[in-house]
Structure formats: structure tokens, C-alpha cells
């Protein structure tokens, strides 16, 4: 019944698509010019940062169907790697951020290899344990700043020093590149292999799909992107506090749950949906920042609602709305004929 939202959007935009994309990017790029610093730190920077992380998780959760409850661990590893590398201006931010991705990726390999045969709840539990472990270690290690935390200087490029507002351009650029890469992966042979393994690993292997290779690959890519997101976070937030990190909504279990919520609420089958999900959850966290428990309740409810009534998530809403309005003539997709 559900035509793919992507194909519908494509068909309706037609030749205007490149123009629409350019206009949207231009509008986003203007945001720092009209925003306040507190809005940038509270909403713009987190939304962009988490979009990168959610795009990586989209490959893992939406592609291979493996739900990780530990990606806050990779986010934290990336944040502290970047924070420590760039303290005392040792590494410039544009080197520290990829380095954080590499380190998070190495942890991804270390965790992905032993857990690749675990599926469903077993995989979720293993990653949950990893997330708690990372948070616990960071919370007690002196090199992670302890109670005083780590202060990260404003990132510099040559003589220019970024602030919370202008750093959004860096985040936006990284997010656009990430979207391009992840979209290509999901719509190419790699993405098909991920989904094939999810649907039937026997049949996928019989077709020549390397189970271990692709499962670990999806996990490592998601870890790298979580690490890069963490490194971006370190730069715009300017401060890393690992005390109480197990329960913190930055590095702890609540963060891991929020990341899963972004992907699920955005729509598991849609790459763009993960960006929508990250923006949505970030918005909820921003407008309910004085009531974090209410924010968590709200996106918990959103996960339930999406799984029960709207599997397509935010990305599937246009199609769902049309279905609710009754199939309007001329808008019936060819796919509707079956079913």
C-alpha cells in the first residue's frame, strides 16, 4: 500500500528538485545570521550534529535492522578524543574531528567483530553494556577531566576563530556530505546487502553477501559518524563533563535512547527521515530543556506511536496523510494497485 516516499517526492518535485535542494541549503546556511547564540547552542548545532549521528545509525538500524543502545559510547569517545587532542591547541579542529572518527571507528571494529553474530535483543544488550562501560570509565578517569571536566577552545582555521554561530556552517557542511554518502550507500549494492542480511541472512549469504563483512561495516560506519558527531559537539559545546555520565543525557543511556528515537521517529526506510528525526528530537529537547523528563517521555511516546501507527515515521507522513484523506485522483501511485 505504501509507495516509497522518496519516489513520490521525486516525482512531484520533478525538474525543480535541484533548485529546491539549493534553496533549502541556502536557507539553512542563513540561519546563523539571524539566530542568537543560545538558539544556536540549544538547537541549531545539536540538530546538525545529531543528524550526522542519526544518518550513521540509519545504516545500522534501518539497514541491517540491528538496534544499538550504546551509540552514546561512540559519541563520547569522539567527543573526548577531539577534546583531548585539541586541548592546548595541540591539534587543529579539522584534524581532531576526523581523528575522533577514526578512534571511534576502531572501537566500532573492536565491538562489532565479537557481536556480529548477535541479533535482536542480544545485540542491543551487548551495545547497551558497551555504552555504560564507556560512560563509567570516562566518569572516573582523571584524563577525562573528572569533576572539573575538559574545556575545549573555540575552533580556529588560520586566523579565523569560529563561534557557536559560525561553527554551524562546519556542521552543516559535514551533515550534507554525510547525507550524500549515506544516501549513496543505502541506495547502492551496499545498502541492498544490509537489508538482504536483515531479511534473510541465509539467502543473502547464498547470493554471495559477506555476512561478517557487511554487519561489521554497518556498525563501524555508524560508530565513525557517531564519533565525528561527538567531536563536533566538543567544539561547539566547548566543555565536556563526564561526571555522572552514565545517566547524563549527553553521554549516557538516555542519549543512546534518544539516538534510536531519532532514527525510528524519522522513519527506518528513509535516509532523509533520519535528519528529520534528529531535528525533531533536538527541537523537543530544546523547547523542553527545563523539563528533561517531559522531553524523554514525549519522544518515548513518539517511538511507540511510530511503531504502532506510522512505520514510515516522519518521512512517511506525507504518504500517510494522503492515504487518510482518501486516495485523491491523480495521486494514486502505481504501487497501490497491489495489495
Amino acid at each position: 500500500m505504501n509507495p516509497s516516499p522518496n519516489s513520490l517526492a521525486l516525482a512531484r518535485l520533478g525538474v525543480w528538485r535541484p533548485a529546491a535542494v539549493a534553496a533549502a541549503v541556502a536557507a539553512l546556511a542563513c540561519l546563523p545570521l539571524i539566530s542568537t547564540t543560545s538558539f544556536a547552542v540549544g538547537f541549531l548545532d545539536p540538530a546538525g550534529t545529531y543528524a550526522i549521528l542519526a544518518l550513521g545509525l540509519n545504516l545500522l538500524i534501518g539497514g541491517t535492522g540491528q538496534f544499538s543502545l550504546g551509540h552514546a559510547g561512540f559519541f563520547a569517545i569522539g567527543a573526548f578524543t577531539a577534546g583531548i587532542l585539541s586541548s592546548n591547541d595541540a591539534w587543529p579542529f579539522w584534524l581532531a574531528i576526523p581523528a575522533a572518527g577514526v578512534i571511534a571507528g576502531l572501537f566500532g571494529v573492536a565491538l562489532g567483530l565479537p557481536t556480529l553474530r548477535l541479533i535482536g535483543p542480544y545485540f542491543s544488550m551487548a551495545t547497551l553494556g558497551f555504552g555504560l562501560l564507556v560512560a563509567e570509565i570516562l566518569g572516573t578517569a582523571s584524563w577525562a577531566g573528572g569533576r572539573t571536566g575538559i574545556t575545549v577552545n573555540y575552533p580556529q582555521a588560520g586566523s579565523y576563530t569560529f563561534d557557536e554561530l559560525s561553527f554551524f556552517w562546519v556542521i552543516l557542511g559535514a551533515a550534507i556530505i554525510t547525507y550524500f554518502l549515506v544516501w549513496n550507500l543505502r541506495h547502492g549494492a551496499t545498502g541492498r546487502a544490509f537489508v538482504a542480511l536483515r531479511e534473510s541472512d541465509f539467502a543473502a549469504r547464498a547470493c554471495g553477501v559477506h555476512l561478517a563483512g557487511y554487519r561489521v561495516l554497518a556498525f563501524v560506519i555508524s560508530a565513525v559518524l557517531a564519533g565525528i558527531a561527538g567531536a563536533l559537539f566538543a567544539n561547539w559545546n566547548g566543555f565536556l563533563d563526564a561526571s555522572n555520565s552514565v545517566t547524563s543525557s549527553t553521554f549516557g543511556l538516555p542519549a543512546s535512547v534518544a539516538f534510536v528515537a531519532m532514527v525510528v521517529v524519522g522513519g527506518l526506510d528513509s535516509t532523509f527521515g533520519s535528519i528529520l528525526g534528529a531535528v525533531f528530537i533536538s527541537a523537543v529537547q530544546y523547547w523542553l530543556q527545563d523539563r528533561p523528563e517531559l522531553a524523554e517521555t514525549l519522544y518515548g511516546a513518539c517511538i511507540v506511536a511510530v511503531l504502532l501507527w506510522a512505520r514510515g515515521g516522519l518521512a512517511g507522513l506525507p504518504a500517510l496523510t494522503r492515504a487518510a484523506w482518501g486516495n485523491l485522483p491523480g495521486r494514486v501511485h502505481a504501487g497501490d494497485a497491489h495489495g
Binding site: N184, A189, T190, R192, R198, F202, R205, C207, G335
Partner: protein
């Protein structure tokens, strides 16, 4: 030991497989000439699917060897066997249900695309050429199986008969020389069964295939197969051309029980 002039596509020697104390396969031998159709029959639980799973390396037999042509399959991982010309279909189709028919067949052509993650992510020219070739291959398969009109339909939305056809198209998309078919006709109605038999025969000639086929439908097995192997409780109890197998008292006994068999086939005594 038999030396053949025709190369054997598949040679299984002394294959034994057990799970804990349960013996699934007990010193099974089987060989299949290239270009022939072999049948594998036996009562439920006889070990037929276990044998296919050993060939695909999903199961690891404790003893014995399996060769695809000259290749000892124990030297390869399951996913590498597709490159050596092995493909299979499944009893319960095992289609990628959430994917479209076209995508199912594209996964079948996975090894033909020489997949590269970096190439995919950056849409490098080599990856795009490979993807285009893969698409051409998959579309040709859909054409061959009259599935073109259903290319964008989700596999889960298809009736069983069509799902089986998609499974075949997916298996053929890798360009195999040997296909293992696990109950291709099960669940089909009589006319679909006849169609399937005709299709398998035509495919075998058209693509120069060797087929190993499990099925409970005796008409299908007897009409298609050059040689039939019969398993019972993991043992090979008979082997030979279909007309001889049909009369073999051990086979009849395995299916019907000895007392009924003696009534039907007097020479059992």
C-alpha cells in the same frame, strides 16, 4: 572408485553430520554429472535439506568431503561459493520480503557487481558501471521470468507461485552452473507444478545448468531427474535412475512402512 569422462559438477563422499547426539547425515555419497538433473528424495526428516545446507557451508559436517568440480567447499566461506557457480533456492523461498522484486534479483547479482563500499559511497565511475551492468543483468532475468511488470512490487505481496519464480530468478542472477532447489514445487497447485517442471527443464538447457532438486512430488522428480538419490534417517538407501528407484522395495518401505510395501510390491519378500 569411479572415474568419469564427464566432469562431475558435485561430488559428495562419506558425508556425516550430527547435531549433538542426533545423526542427520550418515556417510552419504552423491555425485552429479555436469549438465544433469539429480533428484534427492526421502521422507520428512531424512536429511535432505541438511545435505543442501552442508553443500552451502551453512552446516559443518564432522566427516566427509564435498567438491564443486575441483573445489573442496570446506576451503571457502558460504558467501564465496556464489563466485564458484553455486546458487540455491529455499523451501520457504527466503525472499527479502521488504525489498522489491527487482532488488531481490539485484542481490542475486551481488557478486557480479564487484561491490565496493567506497565506490558506492562516492559513486565512483567504476562502481556506477558495475551497478549499471548489474541492473542490466537483473532486468534481463526479470524479463526471462515474466516478472518485469512486478519489478517494483514488494516480494512479500506476491502469491507463493510468483515468490518461487522470484527465488529462481534471484538464484540465476549470479550466473551459476549448479543450482540446489529445495522443494521448488511444494505448495503449488497442479498446473503451477507442471509449469515449474517445464520451466526447470528449459532453464537447465538454456543456461547449461546442473540441478540438484529436492521434492516430494514424485511426478516432478520422476519426469525431470536423470538420477535420484534416496535418503532415509540420514542414510543413502538407494541411488539410480528414476524408474528403478520407483520400484526399489527399500524406497517404498521407507515411505510407506514395510508391511504396506510388501502388499504393493510383491518382490519385497
Amino acid at each position: 572408485m569411479r572415474e568419469t569422462l564427464m566432469a562431475d559438477a558435485l561430488t559428495i563422499r562419506d558425508l556425516s553430520l550430527s547435531f549433538g547426539g542426533i545423526v542427520a547425515l550418515d556417510q552419504v555419497n552423491l555425485s552429479l554429472e555436469a549438465g544433469s538433473i539429480g533428484g534427492l528424495i526421502g521422507p520428512n526428516g531424512a536429511g535432505k535439506t541438511s545435505l543442501l545446507n552442508c553443500i552451502c557451508r551453512f552446516y559443518h559436517p564432522q566427516q566427509g568431503t564435498i567438491r564443486l568440480g575441483d573445489l573442496d567447499v570446506s576451503r571457502r566461506a558460504p558467501h564465496q561459493l556464489a563466485l564458484h557457480g553455486l546458487a540455491r533456492t529455499f523451501q520457504h523461498t527466503e525472499l527479502f520480503r521488504a525489498m522489491t522484486v527487482l532488488d531481490n534479483v539485484l542481490v542475486g547479482a551481488h557478486t557480479r557487481g564487484r561491490p565496493s563500499v567506497v565506490g558506492d559511497a562516492l559513486r565512483l565511475p567504476a562502481a556506477r558501471r558495475a551497478a549499471a551492468a548489474q541492473l542490466t543483468q537483473a532486468r534481463a532475468m526479470l524479463d526471462r521470468f515474466d516478472l518485469t511488470a512486478l519489478a517494483e512490487t514488494r516480494a512479500s505481496a506476491l502469491p507463493l507461485g510468483l515468490q518461487k519464480r522470484v527465488g529462481l530468478a534471484r538464484a540465476l542472477a549470479s550466473g551459476p552452473s549448479l543450482i540446489l532447489l529445495d522443494e521448488p514445487a511444494a505448495g503449488l497447485n497442479p498446473s503451477e507444478k507442471r509449469q515449474m517442471a517445464g520451466l526447470l527443464k528449459r532453464l537447465q538447457v538454456e543456461f547449461d545448468l546442473t540441478l540438484l532438486l529436492i521434492d516430494h512430488d514424485m511426478d516432478l522428480v520422476m519426469s525431470l531427474c536423470d538420477q535420484v538419490t534416496v535418503l532415509d534417517f540420514g542414510r543413502r538407501i538407494a541411488f539410480g535412475p528414476p524408474h528403478a528407484i520407483q520400484r526399489d522395495p527399500r524406497v517404498v518401505a521407507a515411505y510407506l512402512g514395510a508391511q504396506y510395501a510388501s502388499a504393493l510390491v510383491p518382490e519385497v519378500q
